[in-house]
Symmetry: C3
Subunit: 331 residues, 3 copies
């Protein structure tokens, strides 16, 4: 889809230097750009490369406003953000069919909104509700009483257990499992056998959440597991029963969050982090990769980076590493 | 399904204080309980909350026998266990159809027991055997020569490779992969290329095992990978070829167990633990989260907690952490 | 399938001691061998066991050339490699149907080579190309514009996102997800919300790569994620957008590789390793299990083992552990 640079600049809130009637039809990296593409520059050192690229226009920060321009520029305070927003103008999602494929099995009690698109071999259970404009990928299984909001994208081979609720614009990547039973057992003191504790709670996911491939999120045991608005979850993450995750939290790949942990808004959790049960990660805390938070701990401090197992403020942790290295060297 | 409290108390081996004809129809947490629900109390401090809840009856320990009761109580030595057992009286599993869905593809040589229920789009291969009362979720693929025992529950989109054997009452959550090839190669010293070592063994899973969502368990290379009776495995766990796991072992999410490791009965393995090849974890050992056991190590000591990488008794490990922190502070 | 030992010996480049007309029809471990089986011995101490086994012949190193033999031997410099190569003579892959199952949905624009075999319920999208002799397992979803080379094996319930390219002889185990969106967002400094950064690059996988069950590999953001020839990847591994992996790299289970990291040829990466973004692991480096490499680090040294987080040469790391243990003991 072609647009004038003017239209793009208006949408992303930038101002144009140069020819605003030039038409653009895609985005690209500076190295790969072809005529018609938009590129972006965040740091001044990359400005020359962008100007010499084949791109038709460049999105850049204020630093670029004073240079001599060989092609049109869109100047904005957040060029990478503007680039991401501009990308939405163009169509990249691989041609989902605007139809309900005849091989889909939809329970007669299910309610589908307008413009819902369902690929082949999807199973939609009893009383399922799918909101306007949502798309379900091939082979996905949506169990009974699931509610999916508007404009969601569920990729292929996803499994959503019964009763799970998704808000609007939720993206779920292939192979993810939502609302599975939590890992809860009671050991019989006499026989030594583990009896399954009931896992009859639900999973609720708010608007604008993205969930990575093969990630698993369990339903609550008796209560509700919750993922807050705008939270982004990478691939192969595990989130256990009763976990409460706030808004705009970022969780990188292979992190595991144990039962009843609470992660407050704006926390940033790197990859392979382990968070034990009943832990509380307070607002804006940053957990470094592979760090571990032991059971019931509270981690506090907006913008403070914690690292190691048990997780401690990174400054002190780096000092510990340095002391230890020095001692070993002396030997 | 409604039951009298008397029937429930008999089934869980408790004695009733108060009205035993009261009827109950579900279980709930104290906070969420509605009339008709049963709740449970493990610690005396929660007794008042239970009594003031909307629940119709309370399961509690002996400590509750002497209080003045505002509603009927079931007194038992293990109240949480009794609550879990009571939950079985009520039906929570989201309405599996008691049928073989017409879109299922069952090889003519497969043998299905009575009351087997198979959801849509399942594939059942040659010579597969599925025991009485077992249920297979939509989209699952059961390859040739798989044997599934009685009353098993296989959730959707599970893949079971050929020749795998499951005992009775095994639960497999969505997306799990059972019996995949192990990770074994021989490096050609001349070409430097890796040649695949044959992965032609099998996987055998005993009775009452539960396997979490997206967990993977490999078949043996030339031998058999075994999971013992009553063992519980959480989500995203990896179990490699030739591993031998005993009975009543608990393995939390994202733990990885390398080739030919042995985990003896009653071990408890927390999340994100790494166990290298040919390790032996002896009876009743407890491995703390994220701990790591290097190749060929033997970890011994019933009830002893090991932590860190390499895993060591937690007492000594905590001392090491304390010493290090003190040294760093002095700087 | 039966072969004479002579034919096998020629194929694996070994010489026979004893009767070369004996016929063999399979491989096995020494413990499990039955008449007709081939076994192998790498270490002299296992020679007696092999000779007393029920196997019909033994593959062994030069050390076995001078013993008195009770059964025929194939002598070779790399007996385990020869055993693996011999295994290829026999057929172990569980009876894939040499057909395109009638329930497969193949887009009319897709191009399938000769002898392609596709199991039930597979979905093959627009413009997909599948090379001669490749096999696709039940329930897999191959999105538009995917290219699969010759003699590939895709196990069931795999999802391949649009535009992904696989070379020849690639093996992909069940539940793997290839070409999913990378984890990239731009935070809006004003609203605090995360905007999805475009993930419109591709994933390219070269010849002879094997990918484990439930592993996830993301497409590039604007560029291409690449996996080099002969690289072997275990189960539940995560590989992020823009990662470049060289040839003959080995990556064990549950390892995570963050965005834009580079892993050079012949690196060996154990299980649960974490590699941060923009890291470079140089040729032939060995990373021990659970080690972690912080952002932008370069790890260099062919054949050197690194361990710990942050990863350091294992020698120094073990010394650090010893020093710390000693200090703690003194207390």
């Amino acid at each position: 889809m072609k647009h004038t640079l003017k239209a793009v600049a208006e949408a992303v809130g930038g101002r144009i230097i140069g020819e605003d009637a030039v038409s653009v039809c895609g985005i690209a990296s500076i190295e790969k750009a072809a005529p018609g593409d938009l590129v972006f520059v965040e740091e001044e050192k990359n400005l020359q490369a962008a100007m010499h690229s084949n791109a038709s226009a460049v999105i850049a920060g204020e630093f670029a406003a004073w240079t001599k321009h060989s092609k049109p520029f869109v100047i904005t305070q957040q060029p990478k953000l503007a680039f991401a927003q501009a990308a939405r103008f163009f169509h990249f999602d691989g041609g989902w069919p605007a139809e309900i494929h005849p091989t889909t099995i939809v329970h007669p009690s299910a309610r589908l909104g307008a413009n819902v698109s369902i690929e082949a071999r999807v199973i939609v259970g009893e009383n399922v509700e799918i909101g306007e404009g949502s798309r379900i990928g091939a082979g996905s299984v949506i169990a009974a009483d699931v509610h999916i909001g508007m404009n969601c994208t569920i990729y292929p081979n996803v499994t959503i257990y019964s009763g799970t609720k998704l808000g609007d614009r939720v993206i779920v990547h292939a192979g993810a499992v939502l609302g599975s039973d939590g890992f809860g057992y009671v050991r019989d003191a006499k026989s030594g056998k583990y009896e399954k504790f009931p896992q009859i709670g639900r999973l609720e996911i708010s608007d604008d959440v993205e969930i990575g491939a093969n990630t698993t999120i369990d339903r609550g045991a008796l209560e509700v597991t919750r993922i807050g608005r705008g939270t982004k979850i990478d691939n192969l993450v595990h989130i256990a029963h009763n976990v409460q995750i706030g808004e705009d939290v970022v969780i990188a790949a292979q992190t595991g969050i144990s039962g009843s942990a609470v992660i407050e808004n704006n926390a940033v959790i790197a990859g392979q982090v382990g968070i034990a049960d009943h832990v509380r990660i307070e607002q804006g805390v940053i957990l470094g990769a592979q760090s571990g938070v032991p059971t019931k701990k509270v981690i506090r401090g907006k913008g403070i980076v914690f690292w190691g197992t048990p997780a401690r403020p990174i400054r002190g942790y780096l000092k510990e590493l340095a002391v230890l290295a020095r001692l070993a060297k002396k030997e």
